[in-house]
C-alpha cells in the first residue's frame, strides 16, 4: 500500500474485554513503532520492532499490553482486560530501517473503553 494502515479505525469495548489492534506498515520498512495518544497529551511510546531483533518493550504501561510482529511486517497490539484509562488513540508508525529518522504514521485506532 501507499502508506501505513491501521484497523479498526474505531473500537468501542467494555471494561474487562480484550482488544486487538492491527498495523500494516509500508512495504519494505523494517522498523515499526506503536504509540498511544490521549486527549491533550503527547505521543507516548509503547513498543519498537526492528527487523528480527528483540523488540524494545520499555514503553508498555503494564503486562496487560503486548505486541507482536509476524514475518517482519504486520503487527498486532493486544490489550487484555481493558480498563477505562486505556481509552486513547493508538498510532503505529514505520520507518525504512533503524537509523532512518523519518517515521510514517498510520491514521490511528480510536479505542473507547466503557
Amino acid at each position: 500500500g501507499a502508506g501505513v494502515s491501521q484497523s479498526p479505525s474505531n473500537k468501542v469495548t467494555e471494561k474487562g474485554k480484550d482488544v486487538e489492534l492491527r498495523c500494516d506498515p509500508i512495504s519494505g520498512h523494517t522498523a515499526l513503532y506503536w504509540y498511544r495518544q490521549s486527549l491533550g497529551q503527547g505521543l507516548e511510546f509503547l513498543i519498537y520492532f526492528q527487523g528480527n531483533s528483540a523488540p524494545d518493550k520499555s514503553g508498555l504501561p503494564s503486562d496487560r499490553f503486548s505486541a507482536e510482529r509476524t514475518g517482519g511486517s504486520v503487527s498486532t497490539l493486544t490489550i487484555q482486560r481493558t480498563q477505562q484509562e486505556d481509552s486513547a488513540v493508538y498510532l503505529c508508525a514505520s520507518s525504512l530501517s533503524q537509523g532512518q529518522e523519518t517515521q510514517y504514521f498510520g491514521p490511528g485506532t480510536r479505542l473507547l473503553v466503557l
Binding site: 501505513v4 522498523a31 513503532y33 504509540y35 491533550g40 497529551q41 503527547g42 505521543l43 511510546f45 519498537y48 526492528q50 524494545d56 514503553g59 498510532l91 508508525a93 533503524q98 537509523g99 529518522e101 523519518t102 517515521q103 510514517y104 504514521f105 498510520g106 491514521p107 490511528g108
Partner: protein, 112 residues
C-alpha cells in the same frame, strides 16, 4: 527529570504573517530533533529534522533552528496560510536511541 515543553496555548495569527512555534527541553542530550504536523483525526506527518550540530534547516516556507545551549528549537512558517492550521509536534531523539520523545504539540490557527 526529562521534559519537553511546547506552548499549550493555541497560536493565532493572520494569514501572510510568520508563525513561530517553540520547543524547549530539559535534561536531554538529543542527537536530533524532528517537527511533525498533525491534523485532527490523523496521524502526525514528518516535516523537518535537524541534527545537534546544525543550527538551521529550511524547506520551502519552513525553517527550523536548534540551539543546544538554550535547549530550544524554533519552528517558523513564513507567509502562513489558513491551510497551515494544525497542531505541530516536536520530537527529540537521544544519541544512541531510535525512539523519539514527543512534546504535547502547539495548535496553530491561521486566520484569513
Amino acid at each position: 527529570s526529562q521534559k519537553i515543553e511546547q506552548n499549550s496555548e493555541a497560536l493565532n495569527i493572520q494569514e501572510g504573517k510568520t508563525a513561530t512555534l517553540t520547543c524547549n527541553y530539559t535534561n536531554y542530550s538529543p542527537a536530533y530533533l524532528q517537527w511533525y504536523r498533525q491534523d485532527p483525526g490523523r496521524g502526525p506527518v514528518f516535516l523537518l529534522l535537524i541534527r545537534e550540530n546544525e543550527k538551521e534547516k529550511r524547506k520551502e516556507r519552513l525553517k527550523v533552528t536548534f540551539d543546544t545551549t538554550l535547549k530550544q528549537s524554533l519552528f517558523h512558517i513564513t507567509a502562513s496560510q489558513p491551510a497551515d492550521s494544525a497542531t505541530y509536534l516536536c520530537a527529540l531523539i537521544p544519541g544512541g536511541s531510535y525512539i523519539p520523545t514527543f512534546g504535547r504539540g502547539t495548535s496553530l490557527i491561521v486566520h484569513p
